[in-house]
């Protein structure tokens, strides 16, 4: 449990960098977290993040397959938007809990 400052707001994050107080998330904080990972957030990024936040709000599990089927971006595009470990990165930037999916 550490405290990090993003966009001027002090956030509690767990040892993997995920926000503990989900309600604190704003787009500015997202941009700041992304900046740290060397990503410039665009409209497309935010569309995907909104999609993920919707699913979490509805209690649905996050799978990379569902993103491919969402119609917002295909899986290749998703890897291009969030290079490396896209689902982990997108959820960390989006103020969501770490996904526990095998797919």
């Amino acid at each position: 449990m550490t405290q990090l400052t993003y966009a001027g707001v002090v956030l509690e994050v767990n040892e993997e960098g995920y926000m503990l107080e989900k309600s604190q998330w704003t787009k500015e904080i997202a941009k700041a977290i992304a900046q740290e990972a060397n990503i410039e957030l665009t409209e497309k990024h935010f569309e995907v993040i909104e999609f993920l936040r919707d699913r979490v709000a509805k209690g649905e599990s996050l799978t990379i397959r569902s993103i491919g089927k969402s119609g917002i971006v295909d899986i290749k595009g998703f890897y291009a938007l969030f290079p490396g470990a896209p689902l982990k990165l997108a959820t960390r930037i989006g103020g969501l809990p770490k996904p526990v999916s095998c797919v």
Partner: protein, 167 residues
């Protein structure tokens, strides 16, 4: 202190040599899991594993109902091999298994292969097995990068932090 693994896994090389649903999916889930973590991934399909990347077979994979000690009936009793030998039972049980996986949002084999390559993973076919089963490049999925020998595959598996996994 944000935790960082001291010696992170950098590359995962999987070898899939069996063609039953459970063996193929084990390899595919492991490959996709690595790709999703941003780990460089290469998968080598050989012998009956080639069924997973052969266009004609990849949607019809089966699981054993004869001589499969882990196979159980829905109520938990052991699945008698005699029952499994009745024509149609193997196909039926396999179809049921594929349905169950679809309900859990587990992709079909062709989709899984696409997901793996979309994330940067590479898929290879074993030259020896391809020759043995008399297959051609056109018979294999479009996601297959190349048909190579095991020696060439080992050549791709070098580097620190690499693990080779056989399933």
């Amino acid at each position: 202190m944000i935790q960082k693994e001291e010696f992170p896994l950098k590359k995962v090389c999987l070898i899939c040599a069996k063609g039953s649903i459970e063996d193929v999916y084990a390899a595919l889930v492991m490959a996709n899991g690595a790709v999703m973590e941003g780990i460089e991934t290469k998968v080598f399909f050989t012998f009956f594993g080639l069924d997973a990347i052969t266009k004609k077979q990849m949607t019809k994979l089966h699981t054993a109902t004869v001589g499969n000690p882990a196979m159980r009936m829905p109520n938990g009793w052991a699945f008698p091999s005699l029952l499994g030998a009745i024509p149609g039972v193997e196909a039926g049980v396999s179809a049921m298994m594929r349905n169950q996986m679809e309900q859990l949002d587990i992709p079909t084999v062709p989709e899984f292969l696409e997901m793996i390559t979309a994330g940067g993973g590479e898929i290879f076919a074993c030259k020896l097995a391809v020759d043995m089963f008399k297959l051609k490049k056109e018979d294999l999925s479009d996601e297959v990068t190349d048909i190579i020998t095991i020696g060439e595959f080992y050549g791709l598996c070098g580097g620190q932090g690499t693990q080779i996994i056989f399933t």
